[in-house]
């Protein structure tokens, strides 16, 4: 194979894959600006004839999408901020602090990763029912405040912090909390960004648990609201596409803005594993 042919082949394949990956998303964007019923035609139209915001107006004014958007932002932000604190503390402790049974406890936590979260869902629902947290934001936020994966990620990264640095600080008389805030956190910055994006995306995209625990429309997050709309308005493809845009766009934009951190962190986290 000549180098030029090989080059064309590699780039051609990449182009093809990228087209497959992006086409549904671009199509969604295009259809969301079409008039009702316009997409149901043969051949399927690629671009709207008279682009309009009508579907979005309908979504926000009549279908309550604004409320779902607000709920999603609220819930995902709360989960991200709080779980970041919890996971960073625990991950750092597993990486750098000494205590009896550290390795065994960590292995046990990793072992717990094998248990699918859904096993816990049924009793968790009953637990929240007795705590009066069903159909509340807290019902979604509380169980997501710590994750084994997050702790794992932080631990992997924090292991790279030289012990001498911490010991030196201890000799200088710094308390553990001060060391954590002043020395460890700045060093963990890349993983903090990564973990923040991971948590936010996971919280934003989460479906099964909010579906179970949020019974009232006023608390629905975007995915739940969208799934509910999809069952009511199955035939209104244009409206549903606009709903999908509203749901997907924020996370996609977040990813595009921070992807350097995200991918870098993802790589660092996995290579060391």
């Amino acid at each position: 194979m000549t180098p030029r042919l090989a080059k064309a082949l590699v780039n051609g394949l990449l182009l093809g894959m990228a087209a497959v990956a992006l086409f549904p998303l671009l199509w969604m964007l295009s259809v969301s600006f079409m008039a009702p019923g316009e997409a149901s035609a043969l051949p399927p139209p690629l671009l709207p004839q008279h682009p309009s915001w009508a579907n979005y107006r309908e979504l926000f004014l009549r279908a309550g999408m604004g409320r779902y958007l607000l709920n999603s932002v609220l819930v995902a932000s709360a989960i991200t901020a709080l779980s970041l604190v919890f996971n960073l503390m625990a991950g750092y402790a597993f990486a750098k602090l000494r205590f009896a049974g550290r390795e065994r406890l960590f292995r046990a936590l990793l072992g717990a990763l094998v248990i699918p979260a859904q096993v816990a869902m049924l009793p968790l629902f009953l637990l929240l029912k007795y705590a009066g947290l069903v159909n509340s934001y807290a019902g979604v936020v509380a169980p997501a405040l710590a994750s084994v994966f997050g702790i794992f990620l932080v631990r992997q990264y924090a292991r790279g912090i030289p012990d001498e640095l911490l010991e030196a600080a201890r000799i200088d008389g710094a308390g553990e909390w001060r060391i954590f805030m002043r020395i460890v956190l700045p060093l963990l910055q890349p993983i903090i960004v990564t973990l923040a994006i991971f948590s936010f995306l996971a919280a934003w995209n989460d479906f099964m648990w909010p579906l179970i625990v949020l019974t009232g429309q006023e608390h629905y997050t975007l995915p739940i609201g969208l799934a509910s709309l999809a069952r009511e308005h199955a035939q209104d493809s244009e409206l549903m596409m606009a709903g999908s845009v509203v749901t997907v766009l924020p996370v996609l934009a977040l990813f595009l803005a921070l992807q350097r951190y995200y991918l870098q962190g993802l790589l660092l986290g996995s290579v060391k594993g």
Binding site: L13, P24, W27, F86, M121, V148, P223
Partner: protein
């Protein structure tokens, strides 16, 4: 040296959350699966009975459980290799020195990963619409009869698999890419000097060096794919003819639709046992492969 007490203080918040919202419910689920918690028990706890392994016994005699298990295994057995293949292929292409505009392609291929399952499942439902869907239109151009993708029991699961692969392959692609970049270039140089073809280089350098990454990715992907739920919930609602009811879908219906929490917990535990067994099996197989 830090004091152990300070370590525990750092651990406490996360451990409390995991204990209360995960460990405790998992244990409770085990107990629940041994009872007949149902609608009547929900109304009045005096209607709760201990039934031992009765729920498990009944499930093993229920055709719907077996078919849900079959659908899930089908999804895992076909979806995981396809997804990992696509990830590895894309990673190899991106890692090739010949590829242009790498960051751009990487972003494009990764984009579906960050999207919301529900939202993109809605898109796919329209792309695979029998009458107006883009998929059938394109097939029609090359003379293939329209397929009732989501309405035909034989096609619904393949469509969901295609969707899942599209949605997920980017994640593993990034991990593979990292694995590829970690392979010392000297190995390839030496092989090239020995006159090894690209295929031989791939088989004798790339694959063995990627082995640990593959194992990790494989186990994570398998356990992820076993948890199939949102895709059929949005795209087919378990249909047609229950052909896309997965184990988790069954658990959801059993638990939150019919409110048989006892037997739903048993479903969850059986799924857990199965996932555990498959993970152990994968680890065993990989060790056996390493031995010689």
């Amino acid at each position: 040296m830090n004091s152990p007490r300070s370590a525990w203080l750092f651990l406490a918040p996360a451990l409390v959350v995991l204990g209360v919202f995960f460990l405790l419910p998992v244990l409770a689920a085990l107990i629940l699966s041994l009872t007949d918690y149902d609608l009547y028990a929900l109304a009045d706890l005096r209607n709760l009975r201990f039934v031992g392994l009765g729920n498990y016994w009944e499930l093993l005699h229920r055709p719907l459980f077996w078919s849900a298990l079959g659908h899930t295994l089908y999804f895992v057995a076909v979806g995981v290799p396809l997804s990992m293949g696509a990830s590895l292929g894309a990673a190899l292409l991106l890692n090739s020195p010949l590829a242009a505009a790498k960051p751009l392609f990487r972003t494009a291929l990764f984009a579906p990963v960050v999207t919301t399952v529900v939202a993109v499942a809605v898109i796919w439902r329209y792309l695979f619409n029998t009458r107006y869907g883009m998929a059938n239109y394109v097939l029609g151009l090359i003379g293939i009869q329209p397929v009732d993708w989501l309405g035909d029991p034989h096609w619904a699961m393949p469509t969901i698999i295609a969707f899942a692969v599209w949605k997920n392959f980017g994640y593993n692609m990034i991990i593979f890419l990292a694995g590829l970049q970690a392979i010392p270039p000297e190995l390839y140089e030496a092989a090239r000097i020995d006159g090894a073809s690209p295929w031989r280089q791939f088989r004798h350098i790339t694959l063995p060096m990627l082995r640990p990454t593959m194992l990790m990715v494989g186990i994570l992907t398998v356990s992820g794919y076993f948890q199939l739920f949102a895709e059929p919930y949005v795209m087919t609602e378990g249909g047609p003819l229950q052909s896309t009811v997965s184990v988790l879908y069954l658990m959801y219906d059993e638990g939150f639709k019919w409110w048989n929490l006892g037997s739903a917990s048993a479903v969850a535990f059986l799924l857990f046992l199965l996932m555990f067994a498959v993970t152990v099996l994968l680890l065993k197989l990989s060790r056996r492969g390493e031995a010689p």
